[in-house]
């Protein structure tokens, strides 16, 4: 099975072309946040250098968030359009889970973090169990102090990766020696690992309905929801 894997959830851009478990080509950039300009050329380049045509692909695997709203929209728009237009499979994977795949430790909890500004984070808790990764606490947008309350009772080591700089000091105070700060290279997503993981997952049934995993309403919608808690939000877009 030929797989195209894409992660542009944050500043790094990572794209890979795989043949099942085998990596054919991968590009990872951390120098620019120009996903709009770079994503499609990188895809074109890697598929071509893998000696494949777009029509040779069987599956697209995309890290669908959380992350930068524009970043996850670039990846998901490209992924769902390629899957839809070629009539091939689409698998969506949490961008936090994709980062957790970089830490292959059976005896620790893995805590990938994206900075959500003002002491907020997009985060989740994962662990390996007999070679497969499991979710311990689901991905969410949460304030640091609330997150620490959720995780401080686990007795195991907690490895933080990703945007750790803004949180390390406070997390160290709460978790002491339980806290392990991951290597900075492990904080960069690998599309090859994403593709490998995506190979094992069931494809999405309704590709057209796929949207990014924002994990957060826009401010306008959140304010509206406070005032209209029971409103049905399904019919806001109409085909005319």
């Amino acid at each position: 099975m030929k797989i195209l894997a894409i992660d542009t959830s944050n500043k790094p851009l990572s794209v890979a072309v795989m043949d099942n478990d085998n990596l054919l080509a991968q590009t990872t950039l951390t120098t620019h946040r120009k996903h709009a300009e770079f994503l499609m050329p990188v895809i074109e380049d890697l598929v071509q250098k893998s000696d494949l045509l777009p029509t040779d692909l069987d599956r697209v695997v995309v890290a669908d968030g959380p992350g930068s709203y524009t970043g996850i929209r670039m990846a998901v728009t490209a992924a769902k359009t390629i899957a839809s237009t070629l009539g091939i499979e689409l698998v969506t994977v949490s961008s936090l889970l994709n980062l957790a795949l970089n830490i292959q430790k059976e005896d620790a909890l893995i805590n990938p973090i994206f900075d959500g500004r003002n002491q907020n984070m997009f985060t989740g808790l994962y662990r390996w169990n007999h070679g497969s990764i499991e979710t311990v606490i689901a991905d969410q947008h949460i304030n640091l102090s609330n997150w620490l309350e959720l995780i401080h009772n686990y007795g195991e080591q907690i490895v933080i990766i990703g945007d750790t700089d803004s949180f390390e000091k406070d997390m160290r105070t709460a978790l002491h020696s339980q806290l392990v700060v991951g290597d900075s290279l492990d904080g960069i997503p690998s599309a090859a690992k994403l593709g490998q993981y995506g190979l094992t997952q069931a494809p999405i049934k309704d590709v057209d309905a796929v949207v990014p995993r924002y994990l957060r309403l826009t401010k306008a919608e959140a304010d509206w929801k406070k005032l209209h808690p029971n409103e049905d939000t399904h019919d806001y877009v109409e085909k005319v």
């Binding site: 949207v211 826009t218 509206w224």
Partner: protein
């Protein structure tokens, strides 16, 4: 003759639209998913919400457009997409999807200026004859564009502050009318009289520029002043007075432009081109220009839609316009100004 089929994309603001256009002038399909109801919650377009709706809709619209046109990817000649002006996050959904389709099916990608699309909507009715002039009036733009020949666009005048459609939405709010206010204000205006005589900014200035922010302020001040002294003003007369001021300025500047640049066709395009008052007035004024034909873009094609992008895209394709996979959104994209010293 082989069919020339453009698959076109438009996502610059609050409509996700995909169309299939044959030979540049025939609409085989024109799918438009509008987000108006969503943004009405907030009284105007919220960019992040717009982007989120576009990504929900985009592939469904592509499939619907192909199905309704009864064509497959193999039948297509090119892919055309609006890359500006507009909301950057919204534009990027159409641009990314169009690039993905073009790559997947080895199709040439044609970048289209949204305003060229509005103007070329006219050719979906009949061929554009050059030289031509376009008055483009929408929620984001108000400009007079001179077109000496096909694929040449030269701005000769534009708004210096608010776009006309923006002014409608702002005064609509004061009248308790939700966005988009153009149509309800137009309807109210037809029931009232121009009793307030609001200012016609720049109307007699020796240029082709517009300004609507002073008119908007005069309107708002009039209503606020009446509120303070507990006086109730006629909403119909307020709407009629506002609309008359807008239409006067647009029509007078257009007259002036037609005198300086004799053209074979005047095209009225853009969302505000659906305004009945403006259509009536230009129709009347054009009687004085015997050699100029008025082309009113049909109401169904005045708002944002991908059919117009396909109509412009086919023309641009013939002129060699191509983009590669690096194409980015250009939210501030503009036509050039006419290259002489008329300003």
């Amino acid at each position: 003759m082989a069919r020339d089929l453009v698959l076109s994309f438009e996502t610059s603001c609050d409509e996700t639209s995909v169309a299939v256009i044959e030979n540049g002038n025939q609409i085989l399909s024109n799918i438009v998913a509008t987000q108006i109801k969503s943004h009405q919650r907030f009284g105007g377009v919220v960019p992040e919400v717009a982007s989120r709706h576009h990504i929900e809709q985009i592939t469904g619209c592509i499939n619907d457009a192909l199905k309704e046109a009864d064509v497959t990817y193999d039948d297509l000649t090119s892919v055309a997409v609006t890359y500006g002006p507009g909301l950057v996050g919204a534009l990027l959904i159409g641009v990314t999807a169009a690039k993905a389709v073009a790559w997947a099916h080895h199709l040439p990608l044609v970048p289209v200026n949204h305003l060229a699309g509005h103007i070329y909507a006219a050719r979906l009715v009949e061929p554009i004859e050059f030289p031509a002039m376009a008055l483009v009036v929408s929620g984001g733009h108000t400009e007079l564009v001179y077109m000496p020949e096909e694929n040449k666009f030269e701005i000769i005048g534009e708004t210096r502050d608010d776009a006309a459609g923006e002014a409608y939405d702002k005064i609509g709010r004061v009248l308790g009318i939700n966005y988009p206010a153009g149509k309800p204000v137009d309807e109210l205006a037809h029931k009232g009289q121009d009793t307030f005589k609001f200012p016609r900014a720049m109307d007699s200035d020796d240029n082709f520029d517009f300004s609507f922010s002073g008119l908007k302020s005069a309107f708002i001040n009039t209503v606020h002043h009446a509120d303070q002294i507990n006086e109730t003003l006629s909403r119909e007369d307020l709407a009629a007075s506002f609309q008359q001021a807008v239409v006067d300025v647009l029509a007078d500047k257009t007259d002036r432009a037609l005198k300086e640049f004799p053209v074979k066709q005047l095209i009225l395009a853009g969302g505000v081109a659906a305004n009945k008052g403006l259509r009536e007035r230009l129709t009347k004024n054009l009687a004085a220009f015997k050699d100029t034909k008025l082309e009113l873009v049909p109401l169904s094609l005045c708002g944002d839609n991908a059919a117009m992008i396909g109509a412009a895209g086919e023309m641009l394709y013939r002129h060699g316009a191509r983009a590669d996979a690096t194409l980015n959104a250009d939210p501030g994209l503009e036509f050039d100004w006419l290259a002489d010293e008329i300003k």
